[in-house]
């Protein structure tokens, strides 16, 4: 227990993890342990529901929205897009394992051939370009709908991201980890300041959601957006909120960040698409 406090404290102060000494498995144990201790009444699977796992008042509203969630429109849209063949006659199903059903759990992964992290969205666009179609915009619209459909068919599976025995994969993981704990922006805050150190605390009238389980429920329909957005859209939003210049969607920074964050949610159910404020 003291070890994780030391690690977390050191990370927040130095802005660089001591964890290059520790393995990802150790990091995961420490990360998960910290949240299980901070929120003792929340079972691991419930972290898939984010802030609604720790706040009964907003949970009630979320459950009301989940009675008929607005992202269902996008799931339908996504299904239709998924099943519409490309101009060359091929379909998305040909690019994915199992015809593309229930495969969001394969992402993100480290592609040792390409030497980079591959996300679901990057795979969708890779499929398109491979078949002579223009790539879709990264943060919302059709790509989010496709992602929503693929997330929906993956619901119920457990997050199980693997880091292969490849220094480049480990580097990508650590790059993402560094990004998570690095201060940025005019407000000079890191992701960890809010979602680790201050998870469960209030920032004005918002309750900060715990980092554990964060990427389980993407893509996400945010009432604020009035539509569905991808994880990288949210990363950019969060960066802007601490008044930092956001990175481009599907940039190495965000891919590596997604890799690290999803790995930290191993053991939690795939829960997308989600509805949030």
């Amino acid at each position: 227990m003291k070890k994780l406090l030391l690690i977390t404290a050191a990370i927040s102060v130095l802005g660089a993890p001591l964890a290059s000494q520790a393995s990802p498995e150790d990091d995961l144990k420490a990360f998960r342990g910290y949240f299980m201790e901070r929120f003792p009444n929340v079972p691991l699977e419930e972290f898939a529901n984010g802030v609604y796992a720790i706040d009964p008042a907003s949970r009630e509203q979320w459950e009301a929205i989940e009675e008929f969630p607005p992202y269902e429109i996008a799931i339908d849209e996504g299904e239709e897009l998924f099943n519409t063949p490309f101009r060359n006659g091929k379909s998305y199903a040909s690019c994915f394992r199992n015809g593309g059903i229930g495969v969001k759990s394969d992402y993100p992964y480290y592609d040792t051939e390409k030497g980079q992290v591959e996300t679901l969205e990057s795979a969708i666009n890779a499929c398109r370009t491979k078949n002579g179609e223009k790539p879709l915009k990264w943060k919302q619209g059709k790509i989010a709908a496709l992602s929503a459909y693929m997330a929906y068919t993956t619901r119920g599976q457990t997050i199980d991201i693997k880091i292969p025995h490849d220094q480049r994969a480990l580097d990508a993981y650590e790059n993402g980890q560094r990004a998570y704990y690095a201060r940025r922006g005019q407000l000079n805050m890191s992701c960890a300041h809010c979602h680790v150190d201050n998870s469960g605390n209030k920032i004005r009238a918002d309750l900060l959601s715990p980092a554990l389980g964060h990427l389980s429920h993407f893509p996400v329909y945010r009432s604020k957006w009035g539509n569905l957005g991808t994880a990288h859209r949210r990363f950019a939003g969060c960066n802007k909120q601490v008044r930092a210049l956001p990175f481009k969607a599907q940039s190495t920074q965000y891919r590596d960040l997604e890799y690290f964050m999803t790995y930290m949610s191993n053991g939690i159910p795939w829960n997308g698409p989600g509805a949030r404020k």
């Binding site: 509203q61 009301a64 068919t153 004005r204 009238a205 009035g226 802007k240």
Partner: protein, 153 residues
Amino acid sequence: MKRRTFLKGTVASGMLSVAASAGLLTPRSVLAAWPETAFAAKSIDDALNTLLGSTTLSESGDIKIKAPEIAENGAVVPITVSTGMEAESISVFIAKNPSPLACSFALGGSTQGFVSTRVKMGETSDLIAIVKSGGKLYSAKKTIKVTIGGCGG
């Protein structure tokens, strides 16, 4: 198939006693044009007069408003208005909105006094539910807080 299931909490379900009568909305209600003036009205009284022809309200404990104390996001506030009275209509006003009348529901004879929807609130305000029953107007209200979040929400 993969719909979320929740552990059911305690939900108060009132015993609704709605007589199953003819079940038809009168042709007058059906053909009535969309109440443009009522929706444009800037005061609750003007909206009430135009929509329901009166501002005489009786507070009723038999109208339940299920709504959050603090709205997570003012753009999407889930609300449910229910009553055990035999209701001809249920109307919802949000006092501090630019135009207080948010929505109105004309109910058929076999339709229960129950509507659930999601509304927009610009700021902390009273939500007022008006039930028309037996030609009279009954009201209930609930204050819903709308806040400024720290995360840009």
